[in-house]
């Protein structure tokens, strides 16, 4: 046999056209997906910024049909409820994550991991019903019930990201600590968790951002309130709830306030996430 250079037949026109056409289709899908993103953020800026004024940020809602007033109590109420949710959800989530990463390489660990995934998929409205069933029935609507419902939604996200981040910490670091005679619990807290702090906090912020805009679990727990409320045992206003109520109302001024509320909500979520990220980056925690 002698090596005769076989001429490669050119790729047929049909195949080349298909190739280019499919590239075009892929680009088109990207544009179609980005279009609503731009439209939603654009509208939020356009309607939101124009609708915010001092009264909106400092006053409570006016009676039905009356123009003016604001959502000050809902903004504070949201922060209140989110605070309760974080107080409960963060320790449980991080704790479960530590368990899964450090002690969970067994059957029970897998079961917990699966449970967390299942919990993550439970529709938020169902969590709201359960929150109502446990904490509201017989006691009345309360900020506490809202916070507990939201904390249930935080735990799966936090525990899974905490686990992932702890697993990124090299085993050699744990072994070095054991070698110095440091007990296991101390190693976990001061070495492993410390090293993975920034990653763990990112997970917490993800969970926070997720629950900050949740409306459905609050419908039958925190319920909403048109006045100021500082008691955890009373119905409390929340920004997403107020947006929902105002959006469904027939009044133009309330629609305006719904847009303003949405804008504040997005800003709240973005600044909370950005602030913590910045703080973590400034700090001396390495890794992840």
């Amino acid at each position: 046999m002698h090596a005769s250079a076989q001429t490669v037949s050119p790729i047929s026109l049909r195949r080349r056209v298909t190739d280019h056409a499919m590239t075009g289709v892929a680009i088109l899908t990207v544009l179609l997906v980005l279009a609503p993103l731009v439209a939603i953020f654009g509208y939020l800026m356009y309607r939101g910024i124009g609708s915010i004024n001092w009264a909106f940020l400092t006053q409570t809602p006016k009676p039905v049909g009356e123009a003016g007033g604001g959502m000050a109590n809902a903004i504070v109420g949201s922060i209140f409820i989110l605070g309760i949710a974080s107080l409960i959800g963060v320790p449980f989530g991080v704790g479960a994550g530590i368990y899964l990463a450090e002690f969970g390489r067994n059957r029970f660990g897998s079961a917990i991991r699966f449970t967390a995934d299942v919990l993550n998929g439970v529709p938020s409205i169902v969590i709201g019903i359960v929150g109502w069933s446990i904490l509201v029935r017989g006691h009345g609507f309360s900020a506490l019930a809202g916070g507990v419902a939201l904390s249930i939604m935080m735990v799966p996200t936090i525990s899974r990201t905490t686990e992932e981040m702890l697993l990124l910490v090299p085993t050699a670091m744990r072994e070095a600590a054991y070698g110095l005679g440091i007990p296991r619990w101390r190693t976990t807290l001061s070495i492993t968790l410390r090293t993975a702090t920034s990653g763990v906090i990112t997970g917490i912020m993800l969970a926070f951002a997720r629950i900050a805009g949740e409306t459905a679990p609050l419908l039958f727990t925190a319920f909403g309130n048109t006045f100021w409320n500082w008691k955890a045992t009373q119905p409390t206003a929340a920004l997403p709830l107020q947006i929902y109520v105002y959006a469904n109302s027939p009044y133009d001024d309330w629609h305006r306030q719904a847009w303003a509320g949405s804008f504040v909500l997005i800003v709240l979520i973005v600044t909370a996430v950005a602030a913590v990220r910045y703080a973590v980056r400034r700090g001396s925690f390495g890794a992840a």
């Binding site: 490669v8 080349r16 298909t18 190739d19 499919m22 590239t23 289709v25 990207v30 997906v33 980005l34 609503p36 993103l37 439209a39 939603i40 509208y43 939020l44 449980f92 989530g93 991080v94 479960a96 530590i98 368990y99 450090e102 029970f108 917990i112 699966f114 449970t115 995934d117 299942v118 919990l119 993550n120 998929g121 439970v122 529709p123 409205i125 169902v126 019903i129 359960v130 069933s133 446990i134 249930i152 735990v155 996200t157 899974r160 993800l206 969970a207 951002a209 997720r210 805009g213 949740e214 459905a216 419908l219 039958f220 997403p240 947006i243 929902y244 959006a247 949405s262 997005i266 979520i269």
Partner: protein
């Protein structure tokens, strides 16, 4: 730590227990007929969940029909075609869609999407595809189609991020091998990449379905909230999640409440099955590496 892990388990058990015990009354009164009857009459205490089940399924199906091609297209573009420099920012922007709260989607849909549908899209669809029977009737804007579209936008980031992930675990040699056989880039993607990632992509789609089935606020704001079974997508409908959102806090009478909780229980069970199936499929491809971006 163990206590925290146990708490996760305890919460799930508590959810199941509460849902089952609170829906008992309705279960004893109506049995399986609850899911087959389409009568929803709180006044005479007759409850059937069929219109809600129908609305949930149809709106989610519409969402999938729109979202699946778009999400897979975006994922393919990001992993296989996009210049490396833009990959990160493109997937960031797509995932930004997941950060928008449901109620803001609803607000946007009410004031931007619905008017657009009723003045432009629905009249056009009615004229060109009216013969199919699913695009007929008055173009209100509010209805099944609007709910499906807003759901599609909400589940695109889920499906596309999972798809991207499973495409990334397809070995590079697979691509090079197919290219070496003289395939064009598209043929390489079709034969070498998509075919290998089928199970994982299906997992992503089912995960998106799970989210769509349980989505509440945005849907409630645009679907029209009428418990009817209509063939046309222009017609208003009702979903399991939205009937809970609308009627739960105003429900009077134990049977009424219990019927609503039973809808919640059904929704819970369906989403659990759907999610478990999706996880299994994604795991089978990524081999147990945890799927990110599913929150």
């Amino acid at each position: 730590m163990t206590a925290c892990a146990l708490a996760v388990l305890a919460v799930l058990i508590l959810i199941v227990y509460e849902l089952i015990s609170r829906s008992g009354l309705s279960w004893h009164a109506f049995g399986f007929k609850f899911f087959a009857s389409s009568e929803w009459d709180p006044v005479s205490e007759k409850f059937g969940a069929l219109p809600f089940i129908y609305g949930t399924l149809v709106s989610s199906l519409v969402a999938l029909v729109i979202a699946v091609p778009l999400s897979v297209g975006v994922a393919v573009f990001t992993t296989e075609m996009c210049p490396k420099a833009f990959r990160g920012s493109l997937s960031f922007f797509v995932e930004l869609l997941a950060a928008i709260p449901s109620v803001i989607y609803g607000l946007w849909a009410m004031f931007v999407l619905v008017p657009l549908l009723s003045t432009k899209v629905e009249p056009f669809l009615g004229k060109t595809l009216g013969w199919t029977g699913i695009f007929t009737g008055a173009p209100y804007g509010i209805g099944m189609l609007a709910a499906g579209i807003i759901l599609a936008i909400m589940i695109i980031p889920i499906i596309s991020s999972i798809t991207r992930e499973v495409l990334l675990v397809v070995p590079q040699q697979q691509r090079e091998g197919v290219l070496a056989l003289g395939a064009t880039r598209w043929e390489m993607i079709r034969v070498g990449v998509l075919r290998n990632a089928r199970a994982g992509i299906l997992g992503g789609i089912i995960l998106g379905l799970g989210r769509a089935l349980g989505e509440t606020m945005a849907v409630t704001m645009v679907i029209g909230n009428r418990p009817e079974i209509a063939k046309s997508l222009f017609a208003p409908g009702y979903t399991m999640a939205s009937v809970l959102a609308n009627e739960f806090s105003e429900a009077t009478g134990d049977t009424y409440l219990s019927a609503l909780v039973e809808i919640g229980l059904a929704l819970f069970l369906v989403t659990i099955v759907v999610n478990a199936l999706a996880r299994l499929l994604v795991w089978s491809v990524t081999r147990g590496q945890p799927a990110k971006g599913t929150a």
